[in-house]
């Protein structure tokens, strides 16, 4: 199956379907819940509290001279978005297998809309970050304007990997189990709990192999005016993100025609 102007025109034709899938997922998530939109904040916030108690106080991980809660929360917000979006887009085809057998639309709409849904929670949790900065008497700098922009490479990376996982999940059900397990490991391989300055120089290269590191670091540095923007690691991550997305997109498109037969 080709990736050409026709294909993109078709996706544009079906653009409203992105909206309806996102709308559906959001509505369904909050139906019959008591906390409603507050759930967007619960995961990063309470994780931050637990991390602060354990990693901040007990284990006493250095946090680049800023209060550990702020340090961890600034990374937890994008991390939460990434892990949730990766997981939901990776599993999205299996979750919508019924539709794959009954109606036609460009299949990429399914994992893509899953990745977009997370942005809403991301936005709500980001607002709380401002509150946290104020609580700890930290200055709000102009750098914060870059925060929403950084969501773009974050989404691209999550979707890129998500597309690969989704395509694989159609044929290999193992993916369903690999995802949560993989995400758990990734949490430790990414500078969320600890600062990247903790990694000794000789392991830095391996560390940079994780494209998420550069992006998370960038999120953090934007919040803290004292830190320099980690240009080198960010550009490396950006490059890797673009490559991963291209690979994921092409692979998804190539395997798309067999989904209804295999799922």
């Amino acid at each position: 199956m080709k990736i050409n102007r026709e294909y993109f025109r078709e996706i544009w034709q079906y653009r409203e379907l992105f909206y309806f899938f996102v709308w559906r997922d959001v509505k369904v998530r909050y139906k019959q819940t008591v906390l409603g939109a507050l759930w967007a904040v619960v995961q990063p916030f309470f994780t931050m509290i637990v991390f602060t108690l354990f990693f901040g106080k007990i284990v006493n991980i250095p946090s680049d001279g800023i209060p550990y809660p702020v340090f961890s929360y600034a990374a937890l917000v994008p991390w939460t978005y990434f892990s949730v979006s990766l997981s939901s887009s990776g599993n999205s085809l299996l979750g919508n297998s019924h539709l794959l057998n009954k109606v036609y639309f460009p299949r990429v709409v399914i994992p893509a809309s899953s990745a977009i849904v997370g942005l809403i929670d991301f936005a709500i949790a980001s607002v709380i970050l401002i509150g946290l900065l104020l609580y700890y008497d930290m200055p709000l700098s102009w750098g914060l304007l870059a925060w929403p922009l950084l969501a773009v490479p974050l989404l691209t990376l999550a979707l890129g990997i998500g597309l690969i996982l989704a395509s694989l999940s159609v044929k290999y059900r193992d993916i369903k189990y690999v995802i949560p397990f993989g995400i758990q490991l990734l949490l430790f391989a990414t500078p969320v709990i600890y600062p990247s300055s903790l990694i000794p120089e000789r392991y830095r290269i391996i560390f940079l192999l994780n494209p998420l590191s550069g992006i998370i670091d960038a999120f953090r540095s934007v919040v803290l005016p004292s830190r320099n923007f980690p240009l080198e690691s960010f550009l490396t991550s950006l490059g890797a993100t673009i490559v991963i997305f291209a690979v994921g997109f092409v692979y998804f498109r190539k395997t798309e025609r067999f989904f209804a037969d295999i799922i």
Binding site: R24, Q32, L99, V103, Y172, A260
Partner: protein, 429 residues
Amino acid sequence: MGQVIALENISKKYTIQVGGGYDRFGEVVLNAVWNTLALRHKKEEIIWALKDVSFTVDQGEVLGIIGRNGSGKSTLLKILSRITYPTYGTMSLEGRIGSLLEVGTGFHEDLSGRENIFLSGSILGMKKKQIMAKMDAIIDYAEIERFIDTPIKRYSTGMKLRLGFAVAAHLDTDILLMDEVLAVGDAGFQRKCLDSMGDAGKSGRTIMFVSHNLAAVETLCSRVIWIDSGEVKEDGPPAEVIRSYIGIYGRRQVVGNCLDDMDRFKSVGTGEIRYTKIEFFETDGSPKHIIYTGDTLLVRLHFKAIAPVLRPNFQVKICTEMLTCIAIFSTKKAGIDTSMVAIGEGYVDLEIGSLTLVPGNYILDVTIVPHVGDHFELLYALDGGFEFSVETTARFFTGIEEKNTPSSLVFFPSRWKLEGMNLAPGQSA
């Protein structure tokens, strides 16, 4: 009138693994290892769901697709809907396509009726503006205005059906593909669906309709294609194709005064002798087209023997539609000696004196039984018999009996007399 759909040599292959549906990484690895070491021969079975299917459809045609379960009709629709792709062959489609392969596509239980209209409509290809414009019409059509804002998990099955079909009925694509959507639902719902389908057909849209409801197919379609085992078996006018299909798979009915060409019907038996044609006559020999309650009837059973048969027992059974046996006529019971039937064609006549069946539909089960009475080796039996009807008549001065009232099976000539009754003053006798 342009061609809007063109299929050429569409074929679809499915491979079935022996021993299971999907692979685990472990199995894949193991298989790879075994295969490399040539220790295991990987077994796969190939099924051709469709084989070289080719046909074209013009703008405005209403095409019916019939065939047994598993014949490939649904696969064909899936390919036309671009849900799956052919193994080889080409297909061209012009215009927007709307596919209705089930009722309620995309419905989510937790969302309300109204929300699901948006969701389903959008998934089926409608733009948001279109859905909003048609919202009231859809709710009206589904007749669930009171419940439109409650989650559909609270709906009855019938309500969900009506809602699903209401959305589908308002899809206005150039080409419409429908798969046995009418198979479910009560009579009222099916009636409504049929009417919508009829309207759609008249609107000039091109429609392809897969169904088992042969009556509906015959009424609605201008052309019928019969798919059998993945191939196009017949393609032509509805009446003809359906007739051939019924000939092999359906209930046969008497046409005019005879059931002809019986070889095309499914039958069981050892085959030395078989019925080829059955005719109904009046006792004077003229063809009998309509049977009334109480009629005298001559049934002529034409047969053909390809080997000499010793004393075959010709048997005719009259049963209700539910296959309750009402009467049996057989040469053996009547003490007739059919002696040795020679090779060739011939016929036997059965004269029924007074067929006092109440008006309705009945099944005539015709068999030829070997004289030794070995009922497990019938010489011939028409699978399922064939239908004939008995019509109402005022002959016995009892008034007109309504056809198909299940209250009784037979009728006896009879008369009521009121002489012993005292009438109240002022009434006429």
